[in-house]
C-alpha cells in the first residue's frame, strides 16, 4: 500500500526557554492513498499545528515528514493538496465564484479548465445558486460549503479538512459526509480533523487520537472500538433465561434478547457457543462487542488525565 503522507517523530515547540510550549511531541503517522484518515483530540492537542506543519504554515522544531515524496510544505506537494482550514476567512468583497477563481489561479489550475472546475465544485457542494452572491452575505454553513469547494478547486489528490462540518446543520453535515465518501470513491485521500466523533466513526478508515501533542492510539475504527474478550450474543426470546443461566453473562438486555459474555480467547467463546448448541438453544447472532468511538475517546482522554494527576 502506498503511503502518501508520512511523518517521523515530528515535534513542534512554540516559544523558548522556560516558557516553551510543546505542541507536538514526536508524532509519527502514515496515511495511505485512498483512505479517510482522521485525527482526533481535545482542544489544544496539537491537531491544527500538525496540519500547519504539513503545509509549511509553521515549521517543525524537529522530525521529518513527506507528502507525495516531497518534504513537508514543498510547493510541488501543495499542487496536489486541497486545504480547508478551521475559521477560514475569504475576501468579503468577492462573490463565491470570484473566490474560487482567485484560489484556482493561485493553485495553478489551467485557464482552460478553471471555469469547468468552478462549476463542478460549486455543484458538488450545492452552492451553484449562490455563486454570484458576495461572501459577506453568506451564512456559516454556506461559508463551509464554499470552503470545501475551494479545497477541491485544483482536483487535489489529498484533501486536508480542519473541522469541515463546524457550524453546519445536520442536513449539511450529511451532505459533506457524502461528498467525502464520494471523493474517497474517486481514489482521493482525505485527512480529517474533527470534534464530531460520530461523524468520524461513520466515514473514517483509520483514526489517530492525539493528546498533548502525542499520538496515544491509532488504528482502524473496527480495531479501536472492538472490546477485547467481550462478545455479544443474541438468543431466541423464549430461551433467553435458560441461556443466561448457562453462560453467566457480564451484562444482559433481556428486552433485546442480548447478553455480553467474557471469554479469554476465541476458543473459549466457541466452547460457550457449543454449550448453547448442545442445550438446543437458538443463537440468532453473535459478534465481538464494540464500543463507540466516543466511548473510547472519553476513556483514553480520561485515563490520560488520571495518569497525569497521579504523576503530579
Amino acid at each position: 500500500m502506498e503511503y502518501i503522507l508520512t511523518t517521523d517523530s515530528l515535534a513542534k515547540r512554540f516559544g523558548g526557554g522556560n516558557k516553551a510550549v510543546p505542541a507536538l511531541q514526536g508524532v509519527s503517522i502514515s496515511v495511505k492513498a485512498g483512505e479517510i484518515y482522521s485525527l482526533l483530540g481535545p482542544n489544544g492537542a496539537g491537531k491544527t499545528t500538525f496540519i500547519k506543519c504539513m503545509l509549511g504554515i509553521v515549521f517543525p522544531t524537529s522530525g521529518i515528514g513527506y507528502i507525495f515524496g516531497e518534504p513537508l510544505g514543498s510547493i510541488n506537494a501543495k499542487k496536489r493538496i486541497g486545504y480547508l482550514p478551521e475559521n477560514h476567512r475569504y475576501p468579503l468583497h468577492l462573490t463565491g465564484e470570484q473566490v474560487l477563481r482567485y484560489f484556482g489561479k493561485l493553485s495553478e489550475v489551467p485557464s482552460s479548465l478553471l471555469e469547468a472546475r468552478i462549476n463542478e465544485t460549486l455543484g458538488l457542494v450545492g452552492m451553484t445558486d449562490w455563486r454570484g452572491m458576495k461572501v459577506r452575505k453568506y451564512s456559516k454553513g454556506m461559508m463551509q460549503r464554499l470552503g470545501l469547494a475551494q479545497a477541491l478547486i485544483n482536483d487535489p489528490d489529498l484533501i486536508i479538512l480542519d473541522e469541515p462540518t463546524d457550524g453546519v446543520d445536520p442536513v449539511g453535515r450529511k451532505e459533506i459526509r457524502d461528498v467525502l465518501t464520494h471523493l474517497k470513491d474517486r481514489g482521493k485521500t482525505v485527512f480529517l480533523n474533527s470534534h464530531l466523533l460520530s461523524e468520524v466513526e461513520q466515514i473514517s478508515d483509520r483514526v489517530a487520537i492525539l493528546r498533548q501533542g502525542q499520538v496515544i492510539t491509532e488504528g482502524t475504527v473496527q480495531e479501536l472500538t472492538a472490546q477485547k474478550n467481550l462478545y455479544e450474543v443474541k438468543i431466541a426470546a423464549d430461551q433467553f433465561a435458560q441461556a443466561a443461566a448457562l453462560l453467566s453473562p457480564t451484562t444482559s438486555t433481556p428486552e433485546e434478547h442480548k447478553m455480553t459474555i467474557a471469554c479469554s480467547n476465541i476458543a473459549e467463546f466457541n466452547a460457550q457457543l457449543d454449550l448453547l448448541r448442545s442445550n438446543n438453544i437458538q443463537v440468532e447472532s453473535f459478534a465481538e462487542k464494540r464500543s463507540s468511538l466516543e466511548d473510547l475517546f472519553i476513556q483514553l482522554i480520561g485515563n490520560a488525565d488520571v495518569q497525569r494527576a497521579s504523576v503530579k
Binding site: 503545509l55 501543495k78 499542487k79 476567512r89 470570484q98 482567485y102 489561479k105
Partner: protein, 281 residues
C-alpha cells in the same frame, strides 16, 4: 506569472472594495476641477494674457520680463508638483498600508500559504499592486493638472508629466518600509505612523545631507554626519521632490537619489520577504 497577476488583480479588487481607489480618484478629480475654475477666473486669465502679450512685443526689456514670468511659471509648476507629491504619498500610505496586513489576518493567511505559491510572491505581488495603484492615481492627478494649468497658461511643459514617475518612485521607496513594518508588526496603524513619519523625517535627513555636502571641507558636526548616514539608509523620497523641481526648471536631474531609492526599496523589500518567509502563522 499567472499567480503574480492574480495577486495584483486581487490587490486592485481589495482597493476598490475598500473605496481606496475610488476615494483617491474622487479626491484628485475634485482638486483638478477646483484648479480648473481657479485658472479660468478672470484675474488669472488676465495675468496669463499679459505674459503672452509681453513676450510678443519684441523689445529687450519686455523680453526680459517675459523670461522672468516664464521662470515664474516653471516655479509655479514645480510648487504644484511638490504639493501633489506630498498629497499622493501621504494619502497613498494611508490607502495602501492595509493591503499587506489584510492577507496576514487569521483565517486568510492559512489559506494563502496552503497554495502552491512561494511566500515571496505574496509580498512582491502586493507591493507591486500597491505601487501600481499609486502610479495610476499619480498619473491621473498629474495629467489632469497638466491639462488644466497648460490650457490656462498656454505653456505645455511636458516635463510635468514625468513627475508621475518621480511621485511613484518616491512612494515606492516609503512603501517598501511600510511593507517591512507591516510584516514584522502585523499592525496597519504602526505601518502608517512609520511611513508618514519617515516621509517627514526624510526631509530633515535630506536637508542635513545637503548641509553636510556644503560644509564638507570645513569640518562636520555629529548631526550632519548622522543625517549623511541616514541618507544612505532610507529611500530618498524628499529628493524626488527636488528632482521634479529641477526637471521643471530645466535643470539637470540628480540620478543618485533615483538609484538610491530603487536600491533601498529592493533591500527593504528583500528584508520584508525574508521576515515573511520565516514567520509562522
Amino acid at each position: 506569472m499567472k499567480q503574480f497577476l492574480a495577486i495584483i488583480e486581487e490587490t486592485f479588487r481589495e482597493a476598490i472594495a475598500k473605496k481606496t481607489l475610488i476615494g483617491f480618484f474622487i479626491f484628485s478629480t475634485i482638486i483638478i476641477v477646483i484648479a480648473f475654475f481657479v485658472f479660468q477666473s478672470q484675474d488669472v486669465r488676465t495675468a496669463m494674457q499679459q505674459v503672452q502679450e509681453t513676450s510678443h512685443k519684441g523689445n529687450d526689456a519686455d523680453m526680459m520680463a517675459a523670461v522672468i514670468k516664464v521662470s515664474a511659471m516653471n516655479i509655479f509648476y514645480a510648487v504644484i508638483s511638490n504639493i501633489l507629491y506630498f498629497i499622493v504619498v501621504c494619502v497613498g500610505i494611508f490607502a495602501t498600508s492595509g493591503l499587506i496586513n489584510s492577507q496576514m489576518e487569521k483565517g486568510a493567511i492559512d489559506l494563502l500559504l496552503s497554495k502552491p505559491v512561494p511566500r515571496w510572491l505574496y509580498i512582491v505581488g502586493r507591493y507591486a499592486g500597491g505601487v501600481l495603484i499609486i502610479a495610476l492615481e499619480a498619473s491621473w492627478f498629474i495629467l489632469g493638472m497638466w491639462v488644466v494649468v497648460s490650457t490656462a497658461t498656454g505653456m505645455w511643459n511636458v516635463g510635468f508629466l514625468l513627475c508621475a514617475f518621480f511621485i511613484t518612485l518616491g512612494f515606492a521607496g516609503i512603501f517598501s518600509i511600510v511593507v517591512l513594518v507591516a510584516v514584522l508588526s502585523r499592525s496597519s496603524a504602526l505601518s502608517i505612523i512609520i511611513g508618514i513619519g519617515l516621509f517627514f523625517i526624510n526631509g530633515l535627513i535630506s536637508l542635513g545631507h545637503a548641509i553636510e555636502t556644503m560644509v564638507a571641507t570645513n569640518g562636520k558636526s555629529w548631526l550632519t554626519m548622522i543625517a549623511n548616514i541616514l541618507y544612505y539608509v532610507f529611500p530618498s523620497s524628499t529628493d524626488m521632490g527636488s528632482n521634479m523641481g529641477n526637471l521643471l526648471m530645466g535643470k539637470s536631474i540628480s540620478w543618485e537619489p533615483v538609484f538610491l531609492t530603487i536600491t533601498l526599496s529592493g533591500v527593504y523589500l528583500y528584508l520584508a520577504i525574508y521576515a515573511f518567509s520565516k514567520k509562522e502563522f
